[in-house]
């Protein structure tokens, strides 16, 4: 299985001379099987360049798994070239919208609604398939199996476990470690702690021994302390997750939009010093980074 990072940024694209090495596009990950087959995780602005390459390559069919519907994970979708070409099949998977009681098919419709976009979803030429996923089910694509797992974010967000060619990777999408909403002096503190523990264990059990873990690590621990509830994890919490799951390698992604290349170099150095000897192997996601499992 080969993985290529097409977008590594959270919140908003940040082009410019200070984001050249780690990249300015928002979340998109390309996954290919050793013997063909392609799937895409998230459709942030990073998907635009990938779409052009797929058309040039003549790829007839692709499957796009959306972790959640926040803009930085879908804003590239209306610019994904295969959607505009007849004879191409594009399948879009993702979570439901529990408030409007609509499935993933509503994403493109609402995103491309007049007057937000000049072309309506109904006018797209590709053969479009939409499938709303449920926690814990498995989608069999032939070359790979993909299982969504509900994570913790201010909107329903699936992490995706991808199993392909005897290897496995898990992408959290956006995820904040679960927190107990009660204080130790509250009566329900222990009860809630036990529910949080159950949730954590259920997720870790699914990830155990994964070859590659790609984790939302937007904040430093200092930032995380004042941004609880914003829906993202810290670099340290990401490495803790990798350690607890026994992951072969962890890639930290969803870089904060304020972060320059220099900032990220510095944070990486700090992290390497802090986690030296821990046995946890990590990389910071860079746009264009390719990994082979």
């Amino acid at each position: 299985m080969r993985i290529r990072f097409r977008g590594t940024r959270g919140s908003l694209p940040v082009p410019g001379p200070k984001t050249v090495r780690y990249g300015g596009n928002t979340t998109c990950i390309e996954v290919r099987g050793d013997h063909g087959g392609l799937l895409i995780l998230d459709a942030g602005t990073g998907i635009r360049g990938l779409g052009r390459e797929l058309v040039a390559e003549g790829v007839a069919s692709c499957d796009v798994f959306i972790t959640h519907l926040h803009w930085d994970h879908i804003s590239g979708l209306p610019f994904f070239l295969p959607l505009f070409l007849p004879g191409r099949r594009v399948a879009i998977y993702g979570p439901a919208d529990p408030l409007n009681m609509t499935g993933i098919e509503a994403v493109l419709d609402r995103q491309m609604e007049y007057p937000f976009f000049p072309v309506r979803a109904a006018e797209l030429s590709a053969d479009l398939e939409c499938r709303t996923l449920a926690d814990g089910e498995t989608v069999d694509l032939g070359f790979a199996r993909v299982s969504p797992l509900l994570m913790n974010h201010p909107a329903p967000n699936f992490g995706y476990l991808v199993q392909c060619d005897g290897k496995s990777m898990f992408f959290t999408g956006d995820h904040e470690p679960f927190v107990n909403i009660y204080s130790p002096e509250d009566r329900d503190f222990e009860m809630y702690a036990s529910l949080v523990e159950q949730r954590n264990r259920a997720i870790l059990d699914r990830l155990r021994g994964v070859d590659l873990l790609v984790v939302d690590a937007q904040y430093t621990s200092e930032e995380f302390a004042v941004k609880r509830g914003w829906g993202h994890g810290s670099m340290d919490s990401a490495l803790e997750m990798a350690r607890d799951a026994g992951a072969g390698l962890v890639v930290l992604t969803h870089h904060d939009m304020e972060r320059t290349d220099e900032d990220l170099d510095e944070l990486e150095a700090r992290l390497r010093a802090k986690w030296k000897g821990s046995g946890v192997r990590f990389e910071l996601a860079r746009e264009g980074l390719e990994l082979e499992l």
């Binding site: 529990p98 449920a134 913790n152 974010h153 009860m191 809630y192 159950q198 949730r199």
Partner: protein, 287 residues
């Protein structure tokens, strides 16, 4: 009860509003960008209609969780603050309880009874060694056990009034009056509702059978709910229109190993729990 009436009842429940006090608090919390998840959970878990609707949502095949969710705390861990807040706000938008219904049903008293049974069922569960997080399920069962009565009061107000006046006579059995007048009991409609809304099987069973335990008793949660219901009536914590305290069936009494009076004596903090709920209700009504 024929299918047409049954269908109408279930449709009516879709439009069932939460209590105005809870709606007010949910709207206020949701308007605060720094709203605390704990405060929101505390408001929702004390309101039977909010509880029912949130549980319905998280257990629907549409949401598709891989396990059954039976308490608001559990739903909170899965949904997170923002989804919980927006869903609650959506539910809060449903209109207030019609005046005609609230005239026939003392919602404050009904609410207090439901909360007392909830608190008591959860304490009885703990007494029998149920783990703390499962005790939250017992709380939900207590809170929702009489939800069928709200359906009657809201959508069959005349029949409900007839039943209520008959039940004011000592020795009258409420669910027999319901069978005679409406053709279905509040436990039946509660169970139907729980089934239609995909609530966990144990919760559904507890609601549907809370008046029909045999001598041998039922499951652990059924037995705790039955005893909690009788204790709350005995101690006059609120009222849901039924004043008859039924004896514990032998199977239930055996489970606890003591008489009902001894059981009451062994729950010293129940009064405090109910008092907390009472304060909450008063706060809401004072607005």
């Amino acid at each position: 009860m024929n299918d047409d009436v049954r269908r109408k009842m279930l449709e009516a429940v879709e439009r069932m509003p939460a209590f105005p006090e809870s709606v007010h608090q949910v709207v206020e919390l949701a308007g605060d960008i720094n709203c605390s998840q704990k405060d929101l959970v505390e408001v929702i878990k004390l309101d039977p209609v909010f509880t029912l609707k949130i549980l319905r949502l998280v257990n629907s095949p549409f949401f598709g969780l891989s396990r059954e969710i039976s308490s608001i705390s559990h739903a909170s861990v899965y949904l997170g603050l923002n989804t919980l807040k927006n869903v609650a706000l959506g539910l809060a938008a449903v209109g207030a309880i019609p005046k005609s219904a609230s005239r026939r049903m003392d919602m404050g008293a009904f609410w207090l009874h439901s909360l007392a049974v909830a608190a008591c069922a959860s304490m009885l569960g703990r007494r029998l060694g149920v783990p703390r997080d499962d005790a939250a399920d017992y709380f939900a069962a207590g809170l929702l056990h009489d939800i069928g009565k709200v359906v009657f009061a809201l959508y069959m107000p005349d029949e409900y009034a007839t039943i209520a006046s008959e039940c004011a006579e000592p020795g009258t059995v409420l669910h027999r009056c319901e069978l005679k007048t409406i053709g279905i009991t509040h436990a039946d409609i509660g169970g139907l509702l729980a089934g239609k809304w995909h609530l966990p099987g144990e919760l559904r069973e507890a609601i549907a059978t809370h008046h029909s335990l045999g001598d041998g008793g039922g499951s652990l949660v059924n037995d705790c709910l039955f005893a909690a219901n009788q204790i709350s009536k005995k101690l006059s914590f609120g009222s849901a229109g039924n004043y008859e305290v039924e004896p514990l069936p032998p199977g239930v009494a055996d489970r606890f190993g003591v008489t009902m009076d001894e059981l009451v004596a062994d729950l010293p903090s129940l009064g405090e729990e109910v008092e907390n709920a009472r304060i909450f209700i008063k706060l809401g009504e004072a607005r």
